[in-house]
């Protein structure tokens, strides 16, 4: 018989709690209990990065993270980037402007990694940025446009002239 456990955590700034099956992955819980459908089920073995979310400010593949481990954590998904007036964040707009989205399946994961990079408040070389973005697979864009979207947003936030 399935065993359940109470999990309390912060989801995109809101305190939430739910009874979750101890066998559930964080992807399962975010999609099924909270309808966070930006969290994609891709490979489900931690290879592709489509399910990537921020946990206490760091990137994690939610497919290989037990839902019960979320207890007490601060979790953020792409849904949390929406501003109060419903506008996209700068990094989301940059993905559009740079044509970094084609089928869009890898996009939410990439964007959350980009958020971690952008919020670190420091600059990175192109090589460092490529390494930081290397935990995601994209079968459409060839990565260059994605890289450029992150580079340009980072430069803008750091006040560098583009």
């Amino acid at each position: 018989m399935a065993e359940y456990k109470l999990v309390k955590f912060t989801l995109n700034g809101k305190q939430v709690e739910t009874m979750v099956d101890v066998r559930a992955s964080l992807t399962d819980m975010l999609r099924n209990d909270y309808r966070m459908t930006s969290v994609k089920k891709g490979c489900e073995v931690g290879e592709c990065g489509a399910c990537n979310v921020l946990i206490d400010g760091e990137c994690f593949n939610s497919c290989i993270y037990l839902a019960i481990w979320a207890d007490g954590k601060n979790i953020r998904t792409v849904e949390g980037l929406l501003s109060e007036d419903g506008e996209l964040s700068d990094i989301q707009q940059a993905f559009i402007d740079e044509s970094a989205v084609q089928c869009g399946f890898c996009t939410p994961g990439f964007i959350m990694t980009a958020v971690e990079i952008l919020e670190s408040g420091r600059d990175y070389s192109d090589e460092e940025l490529r390494k930081l973005l290397s935990g995601h697979l994209c079968r459409c864009t060839g990565y260059e446009n994605i890289f450029r979207a992150v580079r340009k947003t980072l430069d803008k936030r750091l006040g560098k002239t583009v």
Binding site: D21, A24, V45, G46, N61, L66, I68, W69, G135, H136
Partner: protein
Amino acid sequence: MYDIKALYEAKSVEDAVRLRVEHKDAEILAGGSDVLVQIREGRRAGKELISIYALDEIRGVTLADNGDIYIGSLTSFSHITKDPIIQKYINVLGEAVDMVGGPQIRNIGTIGGNTCNGVTSADSASTLFAWDALVELTGQSGKRVIPISDFYIKAGTVDIKEDEIQTHIIIPKKNYDGYVGHYIKYAMRNAMDIATTGCSVNVKLSADKKTFEDVRIAYGVAGPIPMRAKSAEAFIKGKAVTSDNIEEFSKTVLNDVTPRDSWRASKAFRQHLATELAKRAITKCVELAGGELDG
């Protein structure tokens, strides 16, 4: 949903030990980047698990009063790389674990899990072998500390007793004081790949930087478990810092390594890598130590 028979969550190291005794068939779950994936693949499906992931008491890096470095077994790869103690004293370990998987894997993967797996390709393992690291295990009768070379028994098997969990990895001060280190991972891709062969070298030069006072060289994927190249170490110890000696040293490693053919690479290629990586890593160490070849 994972195919897990039962999940027990440890609240403390003590609690984990109790759960180990109570549930003999249960496997230990740390970060899960191997165990959960293998459950998904079916290889470890239907098992009981003891999750120790929440045990913050064995997370983080500390410097003991005597200068020994204690790395909590649940410290993630990325936290090791960013840690100021690691950066100051044994930066090569931070560099080595920065080559594991990709960024998200380095946030969830733990050094304890990496070593407890018992696999030869673990990026942390060869560097820990080079530093002569110690492994601390905690069980019913308290703590037990053993050299990492004794911890690895055979491929996939490490020395963890039925009631134990690994709690720390210790780098004694005498093993790193005055040494520099360099790790080279050879793999087909820069991210999300397993080492074809990995080589980690520690070097201590004499005061005038003209002699190799001590050299330690360790490999991953040069045999069934991580290993040291002892005859190569014996050869170079006390020798002058010359390119001829380095050339001879790199050939001597072939007396020690025992790589095999696998789908990832042939034995011949791995032998070539063992030689070439030894040469490059020790040369880099000489540079890091402020020495000069043939100087």
